[in-house]
């Protein structure tokens, strides 16, 4: 199964449409919502991880495109610079996915790239610029 993290941008008229339901039901794609910001009458955006065969994913992308949903790859990558990290744990509180975690016995902080959704919440919290966001 292929996995792809993308940002979906919904124009206002699509916000009340069951888009994710259709992706799952009609296109057989696994949809994992990582982050969503949807306000009535405004553009909404959603960070999702889509999973499925390459064929299914392609069909799903086609469907989204036809509907008018903007699809952008989640090109940003978050990098944790271990040598700059002092293991203070300040970044743990804002991290929604526990990508930044701590071993409580030793109080050593670690970063799990797989869990990171590039929400950037930790960036302004780290006083040592140990977390960096990279753009493609």
């Amino acid at each position: 199964m292929l996995k792809k993290k993308v940002v979906l941008n919904f124009p206002p008229h699509l916000i009340d449409q069951p888009v994710t339901y259709k992706l799952i039901q009609d296109y057989g794609v696994v949809v994992n919502i990582l982050r969503a910001r949807i306000t009535p009458r405004e553009w909404g955006s959603m960070v999702v991880e889509l999973g499925g065969s390459p064929k299914k994913l392609e069909a799903a992308m086609g469907f989204l495109g036809e509907l008018g949903v903007g699809v952008e790859p989640l090109a940003r990558e978050v990098r944790w610079h271990e040598e700059r990290c002092i293991h203070c744990t300040a970044c743990l509180a804002p991290c929604p996915t526990h990508a930044l975690g701590v071993d409580r016995a030793s109080m050593t902080v670690s970063f799990d790239q797989e869990r990171c959704i590039a929400c950037e919440l930790c960036l302004r919290v780290c006083p040592y610029l140990a977390i960096e966001i990279l753009f493609d």
Partner: protein
């Protein structure tokens, strides 16, 4: 059975000293009991690695040719103003100083990417910094302008001199308001969604000598990766606060002023730090060895995280307005689980002080003592203690008014 510092130093010289960190000693005391452990153990080492804003460094940069009198003029290092109200080429740079053109909090929250703390780190890492001076000319110091690169090794003296470090205990910060706030205790989420604390707990120097029985003026310490010294009690020293039965203060209490040769320090133990929406500072490693002179001192060093209580304070309203309200008291042991309970609410905790690095400092100090390269010192004078009447007072404001004409 009491020991003296001389006896302990003799054992250190012979490589026979028995040394544990303040973390290890807890287990030792559990197993052997206070009496036996006090007999066997000579030194307990402590450590802390945390932001310490009242830090700075003074430099003698040497005389240019022709001479320039920076004293009384304006000086910048990497565009950050340094204080030059001394003799011709002596300067002081504080950890929280900012470049004049830093936007600060004009676009809120400001980033505070670079400042005094970062310059001190850059110097310690051997980097070149730009030194500028503009001043008036005199007969003996004719030059008025200087703009040059300089690095640490080219200076005559470069000395870290901190007026307040190693706070004995500290607040746990929360935010009761409904907007995010940006503080020196980090980013605090609204409606108490996180609680930030800053202590090395059981490893913290002054929490292992709560009544200042051994740490005093002249005590040799670990500072920024090398040896340093306690100068005196630090600013805001406040020994008379409420304490537990074990003598551990339940809020910020004692502080230390310390100094050490910056040229021998390492950037692993001295880091510039940027607090979003607040400013810059320096994060510093400091460790103090405690000579186990008697059972009482040993008992103090066996303090555990469960014995250390810190007050939870609202930084949206109480702290800025100097209200003494405390929302709860929690132990460091609770803080370190990652969650505390305040009232009915469970609150996620996060630290600002590095426990990992604090432990490393205590271990380094232990290794130095065991190998005989670090001897203990007798305090030259004691720090103001509980009965000294010494206290931390607020500013008594007496607003200035223009003198009336006539």
């Amino acid at each position: 059975m009491a020991k003296t510092i001389n006896e302990i130093n003799e054992k250190i010289r012979q490589g026979r000293a028995v040394v544990f960190t303040a973390e290890e000693i807890i287990e030792v005391v559990k197993q052997k009991g206070v009496k036996q452990a006090a007999k066997e153990v000579d030194v307990v080492t402590t450590g802390t690695f945390a932001p310490m804003c009242s830090s700075g460094a003074y430099f003698n940069v040497g005389h240019a040719n022709p001479r320039i009198k920076m004293g009384g003029g304006r000086v910048t290092i990497n565009e950050v103003p340094a204080y030059a109200g001394f003799a011709a080429v002596d300067l002081f740079l504080g950890a929280t100083a900012l470049p004049e053109d830093d936007p600060r909090n004009k676009v809120f929250p400001g980033k505070f990417a670079y400042g005094g703390g970062h310059i001190i780190e850059d110097l310690v890492s051997g980097k070149d910094v730009r030194l500028t001076a503009t001043t008036y000319g005199t007969d003996c110091y004719p030059r008025k302008i200087l703009d040059t690169w300089i690095r640490l090794e080219d200076m005559n003296e470069a000395v870290l001199f901190n007026m307040r470090n190693a706070y004995q205990n500290y607040n746990v910060a929360v935010n009761l308001s409904d907007r995010v706030i940006y503080t020196y205790m980090g980013v605090l989420q609204p409606k108490m969604r996180n609680a930030n604390y800053c202590t090395a707990g059981r490893l913290s120097p002054l929490l292992n000598d709560p009544l200042y029985k051994t740490i005093g003026v002249g005590t040799r310490i670990f500072l920024g990766g090398n040896t340093g010294y306690v100068v005196s009690h630090g600013t805001q020293h406040n020994p008379g606060v409420r304490r537990t039965e074990l003598g551990v203060p339940k809020m910020g209490a004692g502080t230390l002023a310390v100094t050490g040769d910056l040229k021998k320090m390492s950037s692993r133990w001295l880091r510039g730090a940027s607090f979003t929406g607040y400013g810059v500072t320096v994060t510093l490693g400091l460790g103090i060895p405690i000579p186990i002179l008697d059972e009482e001192i040993l008992r103090f060093t066996s303090v555990s995280d469960a014995d250390i209580i810190a007050p939870v304070v609202d930084y949206s309203e109480s702290y800025p307005n100097c209200k003494p309200e405390i929302l709860a008291e929690v132990t460091v042991a609770q803080l370190k689980t990652g969650e505390i309970t305040v009232g009915q609410k469970k609150v996620v905790t996060a630290g600002l002080s590095s426990y990992v690095r604090a432990r490393e400092i205590a271990l380094i100090l232990k290794a130095w003592i065991k190998e005989g390269s670090f001897l203990l010192t007798e305090a030259v004078a004691a720090l103001p203690s509980l009965d000294s009447g010494y206290a931390f007072r607020p500013l008594k404001e007496r607003p200035w008014e223009a003198p009336k004409a006539g």
